[in-house]
Symmetry: C2
Subunit: 328 residues, 2 copies
DNA sequence: CTGAAAGCGCTAACAT
DNA sequence: ATGTTAGCGCTTTCAG
């Protein structure tokens, strides 16, 4: 209809080569008139790419991951990719299967992965043909990238905030002193750094470990802390969910938050803004994380040569809300 | 390698026509030896199907939907379909766009849809070429199916349970007396039915509406109920999240659950099993819902002629936990 | 800058 | 029951 060859149409549609303004116009008009839509399936076959990326998170319904997912989807769509969502359940075997050799086979072109059960070791042994970007936990390695915020610095800032409010007996809920708990350990490192900075001693009995980062864990950890002979005057929780549980316990015990005990969380999930009191938190820039991860993954997918793994840091900020400052 | 034609290989791979045992063996051996894997992309192009279905839920991170999603994914995968997840945010416009004409265009073969903002009207006006199964809200229509549980019966049973425990002033939290609140209204209908059955009057002031079915809504509704001159002795909440919020408020007011006020929810989300007290609830058979929805959708996708819309009912059961019985 | 034509790897009507 | 073969609709090498 435009009087040109498929080649030219393809060029116009994909914005490839330089096409004369006049022919481009002709083609675009024909496209509009015909209501033509490229057949995605055919394109996939021709290019050998599925146009899909999969993002694997431990749990879909954990607010932090759900929000991250919601940030990733539009960015990926923008870049021409569809997003497949997979839940690993923090199951080591399942996670291993996902990144194992040929797990994909034309189902997806790359993976954004938030590991829980897998060690750095596992991650490095994976199918090197699978473009991979890891989010949150772990650090990068030779053949994949990592996107996250500076956990140590962010945690230091969170604790520094408590110190600045005059708190001195500061507890930490969420440490995970084992190989797969790297992210938690970085937060503990920040916790210690802030103490050092302020010339405070760390009372080791105030650092409590939890298997996961959810409400129940927070509630029980807080209970333990409140039963100490000398309970803390403030708590740094490694997730907002933990903070929510911890606050719940404190209130149930008749304590006032933040007057009797200040609580700060991590993640800035929406729930925290509606909690009573609203929860102070470290707010990672989820959009930036999403953007960096997708950009990097798309680059990897497009690259012919192997790409060296890099560590990308997104921004974050401290958001002071009622659970520490008490004011509105 | 097996000395047969592509046609035969295709037959074996897809289990199509009758293939001689001997040739099938030869082919299977060759497949194993070569490590052959069918190219999904090519198959898609040849069949004109993408092998993907999309499931649209209002909010990914609402536990009920997240659990439903987790039930659907394996079933769909089993049936050879990949699952795309989309969140509508309960946004009417967005939802309309999703089911509008040509919204899909080879991106997916069918849709499982849990509407929130769309009316029955919108749903019927959609692109009739898109195979559709609706979950939860609404009822079926000429050109799509509906899968759900019998909300009226289930709600009746929930309230009957309260009655059987000797409760007489029973409240309901979650009514939505407007066009898009059909599911809520069915629960209210069950609430009334149980009253009629027991010869109890319905006190209209005990039926409180909420915009959504979440914790905050439940907490605030409960607050209103407790401020009545003659507060209820039990509450039927239209979701477990609502129940969780309601219980929270009750406990914060120093009431005992269930002694002072019994609470029953709906959905049987995992959180309810860990709540303190654990939450009694109506437990829809999510696996059956998933199975029915996928089966029906696959059938629709495969069918050449238009399929009449049907209403499929999945099972459910009453699960009595601490929030009503108090026992463990 | 544009055209011609060869696939991408599979399925399925048609033939035997 | 199995072989032949023509596409599916696009991308892309090679010419011009």
């Amino acid at each position: 209809m435009a009087g040109v060859s498929p080649r030219t149409v393809s060029n116009v549609v994909n914005g490839y080569a330089r096409v004369t303004e006049s022919t481009r116009l002709k083609v675009e008009q024909a496209i509009a008139q015909l209501g033509y839509r490229p057949n995605v399936l055919a394109r996939h076959l021709a290019t050998g790419r599925s146009g899909q990326i999969v993002v694997v998170v431990p749990y879909i319904d954990t607010p932090y991951f759900a929000e991250l997912l919601q940030a990733i989807i539009p960015v990926a769509r923008q870049a021409g990719y569809n997003v497949l969502i997979d839940q690993s359940d923090g199951d080591r075997e399942h996670e291993g299967q996902l990144i194992g050799p040929h797990s994909h086979r034309s189902l997806f072109d790359g993976m954004i992965y938030s590991p829980l059960g897998l060690s750095q070791q596992d991650l490095s042994n994976r199918d090197p043909a699978l473009p991979l970007v890891v989010i949150g936990e772990r650090t990068s390695a030779a053949n994949f990238d990592h996107v996250g915020i500076d956990d140590v610095a962010a945690s230091t800032e969170a604790v520094r905030h408590l110190v600045s409010l005059g708190r001195r007996r500061i507890a930490a809920i969420g440490d995970q002193p084992y190989p797969t708990g790297e992210a938690a350990q970085r937060r503990t490192a920040g916790f210690r750094a802030a103490h050092a900075e302020a010339g405070l001693e760390v009372d080791e009995s105030l650092i409590v470990s939890t298997p996961r980062f959810n409400r129940v864990d927070g509630a029980e950890a807080m209970k333990a802390l409140l039963e100490l002979d000398s309970p803390p005057d403030s708590v740094f929780c490694y997730s907002d969910l933990v903070a929510s549980g911890a606050i719940h316990t404190a209130l149930a015990r008749g304590l006032r938050v933040p007057e009797d005990i200040a609580v700060i969380g991590y993640d800035d999930i929406e729930d925290g803004r509606y909690n009573r009191p609203t929860i102070s938190t470290i707010s990672p820039d989820k959009r930036e994380i999403a953007r960096l991860a997708v950009e990097r993954l798309v680059m990897r997918i497009g690259s012919k040569e192997p790409v060296p793994g890099v560590d990308l840091k997104a921004g974050y900020r401290l958001v002071a809300r009622e659970s520490t400052t008490g004011s509105y």
